[in-house]
Amino acid sequence: MSAEMTPPLVDAPPRESFLTAGYGVKSWLLTRDHKRIALLYLASITFFFFLGGLFALLIRLELLTPEGDLVQPETYNKLFTMHGIVMVFFFLIPSIPAVLGNFFIPMMIGAKDLAFPRLNLLSWYVYMIGGLFTLWAVVHGGVDTGWTFYAPFSTVSSSSHVLPAAIGIFITGFSSILTGLNFIVTIHTMRAPGMTWFRLPLFVWSHYATSLIMVLGTPVIAVTLLLVALERIFHLGFFDPALGGDPVLFQHLFWFYSHPAVYIMVLPAMGVVSEIVPTFARKSVFGYRFVAYASVAIAVLGFLVWGHHMFVSGQSVYAGLFFSLLSFFVAIPSAVKVFNWTATMYKGSISWRTPMLYAIGFIGLFTIGGLTGLFLATLGVDVHVHDTYFIIAHFHYIMVGGAIMGYLGGIHYWWPKISGKLYSEGLAKFAAFVVFVGFNLTFFPQFILGYLGMPRRYHSYPPEFQVLNVMSTAGASILGFGYVLPLAYLFWSMRYGRDASSNPWGATGLEWQTTSPPPTENFPVTPVVDWEPYEYRPKKEVAAVG
């Protein structure tokens, strides 16, 4: 249903919406409306994002000089550990699913709410309790095992607050499981009449795949952290070689979850881009089914490749061969998606609004991130670059260049629908440009540092690496500035922004059929879907063509 056909729903002031449905702390902290829970998550993960970002800036400041002279070695080890834990478990994994997924999946499939609203609220509280445990660990001196908690350092040698951090992540894992479970059941049982599987927006497909990973992977990190906790409390020998354990088994259990976890972080961002590109190219997605199947293929194949993190760990050569081969197979669906997005733009009518800039940035940077992943899947090269800054650059290109670009793109794309207000386009484009420049200046030098052999997690390094590190730190400060800007003008827009119509971008999703911001029950009457997804041409012309 394109915008021209039906006059946009008249926005009768004052606007009744889920924001005005109740006031006061109780109406927010005890809400069961998926949209309000999404905003609760938005506030929490923004806090954790800037906390993790602060740790990142301190790390970059330390690395300005070859000698480790800004902070003590123990402090630096805690800085990069906390940066890892906070960013991975408390920002990247929940960000898009818990905020944009929670808010828009019910609306996109024409449902009133998620299948289990109370479970959804419980998942936010579980996330916050896990967060408090981790914050307690941070305040009381932090944990210095790296976000990977490798045994036997984490189980025997480390004297820092490993237990509270492990409990914190263990609890937050359940928030991930509950969200994944909620999404799977909602997508299966609550689609509006006419909303068949192949009329679902690709955002919903990518979140379905993400939920599969959340549900199938998270329990394994939970049991791994439980084993580490049991070993620390009772001096057991699960991973302690002195008592007959094998540290490589820990790595298997850890990476069985943690590699699929990187797909939990990037798949939702792919879903956001799959929504933005067709809307701003005003053209249906190229190869809809291939992009949809690619999401599920990534989710499934993502579980067969974890051993490429362990090529030099003492894992057997033959297992290395298997994991290397499978890692090349999991790269193909990502390539297919990138090609399909590019093909969607062919012969489109492309508008350069901020969300599209973020999407284009995502496509460029995610391509570089994905291709450098092939270096790490190649056995011969990975032996040299493993645990160096090449790896740091690779996963930041995917996480920051990909997931965060996608997240910001999604926030800018749906902000009019969430807040009912328009932000200032000029400032937003400037911020996107600053983020793009700052990001590349921070992480591209690290590819060179990596192949030069600078190991990761070093607070002091040989003097010949200094120039590249200074460039990286300069980039980090630009990137930090670029991330603060959206915080400013989005809050500003909530107060002073122009009112947004129900469909400012002329998009085709169901979420654009209702008012901005939407009422609590999303739709006055449950919509009936009888059109194909991403159909921008008027209905009768479509019907005529047949």
Partner: protein, 121 residues
Amino acid sequence: MSDPVGPHPGGGDAVRPHAMTEHIVSPKIYVAVFAILLLMTGTTTAVSFVDLGPWSTVVALGIAAFKATLVVLFFMHIKYSRPLMRIVIFGGLFWLAIMLLITLSDFMTRGWLPVFQRFEP
């Protein structure tokens, strides 16, 4: 062009020919399954005293798997519920198999390094 008839107003893929009420399983089936389960428990304990070499683990796990299948099919009504539930169970077991088999493949092939030394000069 697009199939006009979507799923029935109930939405979702709860598309079933008849509004299926909860299938009532008669207690006789429950008691029969219960008896078999007890019998199997006795068998597996008895068999464990016989030295079957490597086969003793296979037999023990086989009996356990059979008992579990009985519980799932009859006590948990999978025999009477829609195919999606079976896919969910199969998915869970398949992922468990992925974790077990691929990790074991690492442990079992660690000693093979000398094997290929004989092939390459």
